[in-house]
């Protein structure tokens, strides 16, 4: 069964995933908007940078983050003593970067699928740029945001390499569920590994079922309305 330490690890994971997803939506939305609408050449560079965490081994990402956030890194001592590495905020920073493409891409696709026409329409009805963004672009991209939130959350729950590199394994501070499972296996404590893994499998499956069901339902509602579906 779950030990108090495992429960702690699960709660920490939940907290990390929630904070990360929240920050990602805040950062990712303007980024996705720019990437969906801009025609500048700079866009390709930006897209590549955002997609980088998809192709890099998490340990590479973690290694650089460790350098940047560590006691001698440029950001390391800026916000915390002695450094951001091996702290919860450090973990959040790492997770945000690692999960960025999983949030930006669905939102970007949703903005692009909605197209320019609804925004033009809103402009002719007297809506200024911000007004158009909040009353037309965001609501039309809602399925993209649902997908982005669930994927960002799930991907943060599932990360291991980055966390291991910059978070270490401090119980209650940086010891998330995936690390805890690794520890249990290392110490041949298969019963605890099973219990924790099962919780993760069940939770992840549930989340994905919810997002797919939502997307299918939205497909049917949007049939003929010109809204493209947004699936991962």
């Amino acid at each position: 069964m779950l030990t108090p330490a495992d429960t702690n690890a699960l709660l920490l994971t939940l907290r990390l995933a929630l904070v990360t997803t929240g920050i990602l939506l805040l950062i990712g939305t303007p980024l996705a908007w720019f990437m969906a609408r801009s025609a500048s050449r700079f866009r390709a560079v930006l897209e590549a940078v955002v997609a980088l965490p998809l192709v890099l081994p998490p340990t590479v990402l973690g290694f650089y983050l460790l350098l940047v956030l560590g006691p001698r890194g440029p950001l390391g001592t800026l916000f915390a003593e002695p450094s951001l590495a091996f702290t919860f905020p450090g973990l959040v920073i790492g997770s945000v970067i690692y999960s960025l493409p999983f949030v930006v891409q669905p939102v970007q696709n949703a903005f692009r699928a909605a197209g320019r026409a609804p925004l033009d329409t809103a402009a002719t009805l007297g809506a200024g740029p911000l007004d158009r963004f909040f009353t037309v672009a965001l609501p039309l991209a809602r399925p993209g945001f649902v997908t982005a939130s669930v994927l960002g959350f799930a991907h943060t729950v599932g990360e291991f390499g980055v966390v291991l590199m910059i978070g270490g394994n401090i119980p209650g501070v940086t010891r998330v569920a995936s690390i805890a499972v690794y520890d249990h296996v290392e110490t041949l404590n298969y019963a605890s590994a099973h219990a924790l893994s099962l919780v993760l499998v069940a939770a992840s499956l549930l989340m994905l079922i919810v997002v797919y069901a939502y997307n299918h339902q939205h497909d049917q509602q949007a049939a003929g309305a010109g809204t493209a579906r947004v699936l991962p």
Binding site: D120, T121, A122, A123, T124, A127, D131, L140, A223
Partner: protein
């Protein structure tokens, strides 16, 4: 409004330098690909091209230094495919426009939904509407934004004949009810003639001067008068109503004809569309009394051969002019030259 537009996009060019009326309905007529939608979008500010100057009703919307964004132009724009917001109900779509409308003298929302007959649709989602219903809601929404100028981009093109008819008559109703200048893009001659007062003919990126439709259609140098669907809108006055046959007698030039429907109010401006192909001519042998039916005495103003074996003839009767297409044989029999007096018959005429 004054337009001075010079647009280059690859091989496509659009050059318009003209003054267009600030009142009534102006049709922007031309074949597909002529640049009609480009012109309309530029006018609305949805597309921004260099070398374009736009002045509307004493305001500058675009010149070399200035560009007023579309949301500050107070225009209504009806897109070809309606473009209702799919995430909002019909009522919310209309409310979106009302909320952002400037509040001086725009039509009342109740009157708008009334004219366009969309009250029953208010709680529906756009995805559940038919094409004609969507287009009616889109027109209502554009009106609800209190526009100074209504731009309609082929609002009837996507509708089949059955669905088109009610929308067309609602647009006519709007033209009568509210004093909102409209620019109406169409490639359908019949729609233009029924709806518009003025026409600018756009072909391959060049616009002919914008003039009253009757003037353009009775100009035999223009290719439009030679089209198979050529027609002229003429203003007519109701003279009386026969309740038994449910027909009204209307004055047309120096004569009068019976048309179905009525009674029409005398103050109600009406137009009759006189189609060149359906206007028949006969010699002026029959003496005409004041009650003579179905024959309009007129004089030939000009003639022009049009096609292999037909001629197109411009006829004058009183203050109106219209067209008739006749075979060369018939023209010879009637001795049609400038100044010839003939009787015109307009069977199946309908007023709008």
């Amino acid at each position: 409004m004054k337009l001075d537009l010079h647009i280059r996009q690859g091989n496509f060019r659009l050059d318009v330098s003209d003054s267009w009326p600030d009142t009534g309905v102006t049709a922007l007529f031309g074949p597909s690909g002529a640049g009609k939608t480009t012109l309309l979008r530029t006018l609305a500010g949805l597309d921004r091209h260099a070398a374009c100057h736009i002045h509307v009703a004493g305001e500058t919307w675009q010149d070399d230094d200035l560009f007023v964004p579309p949301h500050r132009r107070r225009i209504g724009y009806v897109f070809q495919d309606a473009q209702l917001f799919p995430h909002l109900s019909v009522r919310e779509n209309l409310a979106y426009a009302v909320k952002r409308a400037s509040h001086n003298g725009h039509p009342h929302l109740g009157d708008i939904t009334d004219v366009l007959e969309i009250e029953a649709l208010l709680e529906r989602r756009p995805a559940t509407l038919s094409g004609g219903e969507r287009q009616r809601v889109a027109i209502a929404r554009a009106l609800a934004s209190g526009p100074r100028l209504l731009l309609l981009d082929e609002p009837l093109a996507s509708l089949d004949a059955d669905r088109k008819e009610p929308v067309l008559s609602q647009l006519l109703h709007i033209r009568r009810s509210w004093d909102i200048p409209m620019i109406f893009v169409s490639h359908n001659m019949d729609d233009v003639i029924r709806l518009a007062d003025y026409m600018a003919f756009l072909d391959a990126g060049r616009a002919a001067p914008c003039l009253p439709i009757a003037k353009i259609m009775t100009d035999l140098d223009s290719p439009l008068a030679h089209r198979a669907d050529a027609a002229v809108p003429v203003g007519v006055l109701p003279l009386g109503y026969d309740a038994e046959t449910r027909m009204s007698r209307i004055r047309l030039g120096d004569g009068s004809i019976w048309v179905p429907g009525g009674p029409y109010e005398v103050t109600h401006p009406m137009r009759l569309i006189v189609y060149a192909n359906r206007t028949l001519l006969s010699p002026p042998t029959v003496p005409l009394g004041p009650d003579a039916d179905e024959a309009i005495p007129c004089t030939v103003r000009s003639t022009c051969s049009s096609g292999e074996s037909t001629m197109i003839v411009v006829l004058t009767s009183g203050e109106v002019e219209f067209l008739s297409r006749v075979s060369r044989r018939q023209a010879n029999q009637l001795g049609l030259v400038v100044g010839t007096r003939v009787l015109a018959h307009i069977p199946g005429a309908v007023v709008h």
